[in-house]
């Protein structure tokens, strides 16, 4: 895909940012969402690997805010702003939210991908961040990389190879 350079890895239910020349990536997105925020002028790139749509269902004592769409997005935005990004310049891209297994009878858990997508979009609208590209849904896994120098998001899947947006 791209030569190895400074790569920041974002794990499941995790978020992070890189600046200028770095690359930020997360691997093996299934029903999870890889959501990126980018300030093109200062070349600040942030990424969150969101696992669940809403922290309302959380039963954990110490809430991991990077795990839920409704808490991860504001936290990521905060991180970008902290580095000097301007709210008016930040744009978002997202990928993931697939339905890995097709079942006849599907409960809410099985529909987690579509619910994650909806929840992320809702939160982006609330935060007034435009979603300029997305590659969501389907029934396959994705690995994504955001290049902070260009703002290009590379999406790799087993069946379709690499695409950029």
């Amino acid at each position: 895909m791209i030569e190895e350079q400074s790569i920041v890895k974002v794990g499941m239910a995790d978020l992070n940012v890189v600046q200028r020349s770095g690359i930020i990536r997360t691997v093996g997105l299934g029903s999870c969402i890889g959501l990126t925020m980018y300030d093109p002028q200062l070349k600040i790139a942030g990424m969150a690997h969101v696992m669940l749509p809403s922290s309302d269902i959380a039963r954990e004592g110490q809430l991991n805010i990077a795990k839920y769409a409704d808490t991860a997005l504001p936290a990521l935005l905060e991180k970008l702003l902290h580095l000097g990004a301007s709210p008016s310049r930040i744009v978002a891209k997202m990928a993931g939210g697939s339905q890995m297994f097709a079942f006849a009878g599907t409960g809410d858990t099985m529909r987690i991908g579509p619910r994650n997508i909806e929840s992320c979009k809702l939160k982006l609208a609330e935060l007034h961040i435009p979603l300029i590209a997305e590659d969501t849904g389907g029934n396959y896994g994705r690995t994504i990389e955001l290049d902070a120098s260009s703002g290009i998001l590379y999406i790799r899947s087993v069946q379709t190879g690499v695409k950029e947006m």
Partner: protein
Amino acid sequence: MEVFKHFKEFKMDVLKEVGNIGAGNAATALSLLLNKPVDMAVPKVQLLSFEEISDKVGGAEKLVVAIFLRVEGDAPGNLFFILSPEAAKSLLNRLVGIPLEGEGFFDEMEQSALCEIGNILAGSYLSSLADFTNLSMSPTVPALAMDMAGAILSYGLLQFGQMGDDALLIDTTFLEGDHEVEGQFFLIPDPDSFSKIFKALGVPVDYD
């Protein structure tokens, strides 16, 4: 999640036995299908972070073939039967005589055969568990995917995800005699199912 960290060794042993009985029966079923001996490793019961679970099959990006069943009933959970693509091809070759050549993805016929194999193995895993615990456990229709391990396994972690960043996994590997077919069973009971399993097996609830 704290509660799982403090499971005493005794409880872990009980869960190991759960994996042992389930996978033991599945290995027997596979051995009958292949008409060859199938060995099984001692089950591992571990509380692992989400990343570590993918690492168990070679990392989140590793291409695997997985048959997934959701377990419903008294002690719900998720059951995965995971194979490398090569092992899956070898299984197909030996069980249904599908030729080994051909790269890449499985056609409809091959997928259906794999699903059925997974169904037989997972069915024997679960039915022996249900007999052993006297709990009702019924599998959903199996679903097959060939994709990145992280994308697949995250599906089984959603119930745990609501409680923390780790999951308790019962992992059993088995190997066919000449190691051409190696597979892994991952049973990930829902967090609430553990107390039911312990209770059904006569482990005192407050024994910790």
